[in-house]
Amino acid sequence: MTATAREPNLVLSAKNVTKRFGGLVAVNDISFDIPEGSIVSLIGPNGAGKTTFFNIIAGIYDPTSGRIAVHGRTMVARPIRAWLEPFLWVAPAVVVGIVSAIVVAAANNETIGFVGAALTLAALITMLLSAIARPAWYQRLLRRIGIFRSARPNDIVEAGIGRTFQNIRLFSNMTAEENVLVGMHTRLKANLLDAMFSTPRNRSEEVAAKIRAEELLRLVGLRGIGGELAKNLPYGDQRRLEVARALGSNPKLLLLDEPTAGMNPKETSDMMALINKLRTELGLTVLLIEHDMKVVMGISDRVTVLDHGERIAEGTPDEVRKNPKVIEAYLGAPAS
């Protein structure tokens, strides 16, 4: 808590994050800070828990314990006072029900009784639906009451964290441009009626969005391929397109899960240049999972090493490279 107060420029701060899958401890008591504007790498042998940790940050898994704050606001943790939530669902309905019962008793009118019952039902349904869809106002209400529920992936994106996937997960039957436009979803505001009646607001927003998508494609080096289906792009371009899509939501922090996996040396160095460019030109903070040591040592400010879910080293690339524990994890202990 004091750490966040002293260093307000932490984009992301994880405290004692643990994740268990049954008996397997995938991530064990990891604390981790990402200062603004840095490139931080997470490395470790296969099965070290890197991707699990990533998925916890992205809101896909709830942690078993610990918490993650984004810009000082806790987004991911175990739920607090979750048992209170069902009361919230029925409370408005109960209030409406009691009020209408009193009115009915006073007025003795069947129509009012019917309206009251309908209103009660509507209140109940509204609250239940909100609980499922969890719109922003519902989350604010929860926070005000003091109930904490972990953010969902879309809330994490809303808070300014974009991500890519280890195994490319593009919308393969949509064009490159459409992929980026989907990435921009949270930044577009057109609602159902705007779309149905094609309001001026919707049209100008669409035009602006397409220009922005084109810009993003150019930024990652995919000029002029906006109309191609994502699955028809070469492998390296698909990786770049995933980055462009993640940039669509204007993130402050970009999570890249093995961005150079399966790439040839040329593509790898291009990707490194791109990551550097994202930091210098867009002021992005980057968290990187990577196996390619040349990439890690080349562009990271800080490196954290995980093994069997535990953090075994943390420091600058040079410190980590010389750390005997790291060498042991990767190459095995020397015979004694």
Partner: protein
């Protein structure tokens, strides 16, 4: 020289065509309205021309077209859920029933209310959308097959509820004497099919424009993204729950729309109009027409319905008159599902993208061929360079 002469007519014609295409590209909603107007004018004329006029008189054709229009509406609505958002809904007729019963309560001697037709169109759509959300909310976490089973159950339950709640629905007899539409200056009667025909053309045009615009919007992209990869969609900031609920609600409201029109046209609603066979027919129309393409789906629904009510009946009459052994005893109308099944199987084998596919789906399913062609072209190019 002669070649140049031969081309004189060519460029002018192509530039006209490309200009038409440009206009169609930039004014898509207008194109839909114009196209529907042309279709609306052509169909009655077509019904008086020989091959068609032999089967049945124009009035009967028009009546059939109006009924086909209902199925076009239904197929367009189901296309949102199945074709765009990729949620398999096997109980779609339930929303059709809900819309129809909503109109029956709003405008019949049974309830003693007579609400205006236009208002009831909106109310029917809203009521159906509400039920769509209510069904969707608890079930949308299910995927694929599981969702299909739940919707199948819902599709069975709704007609049974209408059947058994006799006090409120008159059970098997259904609610009769429903008022026909009361649109000013137009007289809707059972004997005159023209008003209903015109109305259904207008309704289909409106629904098509709305769906087309949605499909091209932020919301349509979100549906497609969810169909492609739900996790990736969520990780890119889409609220998958609300997006899927919206697809369900809009699909249901289109069915509600169709239900209101159908109830007003038949002046009777009864549970047996909404059996699961209706759901399957609509799904078959969407798949056969070409999932995801509004024109394809509309045309698919129209063609299939027309074949079903006209061609199969005519086959009965045809073989009956000729006294062909065996064939004259077959009631082809009863075999329509066999024919559907056969058509679907053949379709999946030879043209999986549907009769009138969207460009997108065509590319999806034939991308492999295109990839090969491209590879061979690249190889040829390499060879020519070296």
């Amino acid at each position: 020289m002669s070649g140049r002469l031969a081309n004189i007519g060519g460029p002018g014609f192509t530039s006209f065509r490309s200009r038409v295409r440009d206009i169609a590209e930039t004014h898509r909603s207008l194109t839909i309205i114009v196209a529907m107007a042309i279709v609306g004018l052509l169909l009655p004329i077509l019904a008086t021309v020989p091959p068609f006029s032999i089967f049945q008189p124009q009035d009967v054709w028009l009546n059939g077209f109006s009924n086909a229009g209902v199925f076009v509406l239904l197929a367009l609505g189901l296309n949102i859920v199945v074709g765009l958002a990729g949620l398999l809904d096997l109980g779609y007729a339930a929303f059709f029933a809900i819309g129809a019963y909503a109109y029956a309560y709003g405008a019949s001697p049974f309830s003693g209310i007579h609400a205006p037709f236009i208002a009831m169109l909106l109310i029917g759509a809203l009521v159906a959308a509400t039920f769509g959300v209510l069904l969707g909310a608890p079930t949308l976490r299910l995927r694929g097959d599981y969702l299909a089973i739940v919707t199948l159950g819902f599709g069975e339950i709704v007609p049974i509820v209408f059947l058994n709640a006799e006090k409120y629905t008159e059970g098997t007899n259904g609610i009769g004497g429903i008022y026909p539409p009361d649109i000013p200056f137009v007289e809707f009667g059972i004997l005159n099919p023209w008003p209903f025909y015109g109305l259904v053309i207008v309704l289909v045009a409106i629904v098509m424009v709305f769906i087309y615009r949605l499909q091209e919007s932020r919301i349509g992209r979100a549906w497609m993204a969810i169909r492609e990869d739900e996790l990736a969609a969520a990780s890119n900031g889409l609220n998958t729950v609300t997006t899927k609920l919206l697809a369900f609600a809009l699909g249901a409201s289109t069915a509600g729309f169709a239900g209101v029109f159908n109830a007003a046209k038949l002046t009777l609603v009864s549970p047996d109009q909404f059996l699961s066979t209706v759901s399957f027919s609509i799904l078959a129309m969407v798949v056969l027409g070409g999932m995801g393409n509004i024109w394809g789906v509309a045309l698919g629904a129209f063609v299939i319905y027309t074949i079903q009510i006209v061609l199969l009946k005519q086959l009965n009459a045809f073989f009956g008159e000729l006294h062909v052994p065996i064939l004259q005893d077959i009631n082809f109308v009863q075999y329509q599902f066999l024919l559907y099944g056969l058509a679907l199987v053949l379709m999946m084998l030879f043209r999986p993208e549907g009769l009138f596919p969207s460009q997108r789906r065509k590319r999806e399913l034939h991308a492999a061929d295109a990839g090969e062609a491209e590879a061979s072209a690249v190889a040829a190019l390499d060879e020519s360079i070296t």
